[in-house]
Symmetry: C2
Subunit: 250 residues, 2 copies
Amino acid sequence: MSREEKPNTAILSRALPRKKQGLSPCAACEVRHLAVCSALKTDDLDELDAILTRRDLSAGDTLFDEGEPARNVYNLTSGCLKLYKLLPDGRRQVTGFLFAGDFVGLANSDDYIYSAEAVTQVALCRFEKHKLDHLMNTHLSLEKRLLGMARFELVEAQEQILMLGRKTAMERIASFILMLSDRAQRRDEPADPVKLPMSRNDIGDYLGLTTETVSRTITRLRKNGIISLDSDRSITIKQRETMNDIAEGF
Amino acid sequence: MSREEKPNTAILSRALPRKKQGLSPCAACEVRHLAVCSALKTDDLDELDAILTRRDLSAGDTLFDEGEPARNVYNLTSGCLKLYKLLPDGRRQVTGFLFAGDFVGLANSDDYIYSAEAVTQVALCRFEKHKLDHLMNTHLSLEKRLLGMARFELVEAQEQILMLGRKTAMERIASFILMLSDRAQRRDEPADPVKLPMSRNDIGDYLGLTTETVSRTITRLRKNGIISLDSDRSITIKQRETMNDIAEGF
DNA sequence: CATCATAATTGACCTAGATCAATTCGTTGC
DNA sequence: GCAACGAATTGATCTAGGTCAATTATGATG
């Protein structure tokens, strides 16, 4: 880029005062570019801000339960949230882990089709569904963005279905670690080491395995020198190519 | 409805000639109300018709392969289509069976993320992606409809994930038969008997089981009097409540 | 209608991952 | 530093569903 593209003082002098006047907090949001919110121009962000409520959860807190009327949708701005479904005898399937920038509630239904619980400390923006729907009518880019996100989530769901239906325990674990790495990278975090904020039990319930199998399999990857376990619940991928091959079933 | 609402001759005289002049074939489409197409008013259907190509496939024909550039999307108007992903060693996961009214290509990507193959004789409407995108810009209801369909598909994907991750073979088979029954009903076909146009092998690859397990499990349901096998690849659900209980994991 | 090919069923046996049961590791609080 | 408790790991054993191997239906074809 040429030096000439650096903003001159004239432009700067217009921008700065507005920020000081208290332009929408959304404008300063660090994950805006990752979230639905990126669909709106900076000038329109106050309309978004007007209909949202910010909320924090501690690790272990429940956001909502499967079966409750689904009045709200959420935008996760920091932390990790898990979504899960239960069978009557207590068997549990974690259907997804969400991180900063992810949207909660794309899967549309009158009632929530899964429960949502904080894995770590979590911050979110809550929108009443009907208010967001209304905003979508005046800001079509918002609807486009939501459609794009839904279509992308469908791609990821297909991957998850392949994993659960046909991959071995080892292939699932490798796929899972790589997925977390890829997603960290997408939100401008380092791809390596990979943080695993969730318990072995949660990982098992996501991968359709037991805690014990998750543990044994991670141990095996470690003993083979493909990964190493750091402290603070994170993993370093020592041989990414090998991991890829394992994950893809080669 | 009152008699007065019956169209009078004046209205009829406007409507009939248009039909004879060759009003869009879409207007006569039997599955229009099930498909994306329902988003458009009858008067706008010719715009849809203008950008589509009708196509037939015989059982076993491939529509497209995973990895090909995804230039087209499709609307299935009759028959059954299966979508599947392969692992390098040939393990296969059928990610979905589609029927009349279903849309092929909601999961968005530059390349197809699965292969599509006709299970039975199939009829479809093909749309070039960019043309449909363009039509969406002038007909916002089309975009809304697509978003609605994507969000509904996400709900179904979550169910499938629970099934593959945590249900037993018996629970999967029961869930599968009931799902086919529900979907038949949604397209105004009888809920019972349920047609299973796909092979045991396809069912296995959808449920993450082998052909043998599918066969044994269906036999067990039959011997317990919960279902009966008719000729012509269809199944009668004799005890729907029991089936529901099995499917839900009670 | 006999022939061949393919799909479905059934049986015998095997194995990946589950289950059950101890340890061991990490944290948190005192 | 040291209990105390939950999470993770490791080991021993079990089992649901897979694999391998016939056998039997079910169509398609000349």
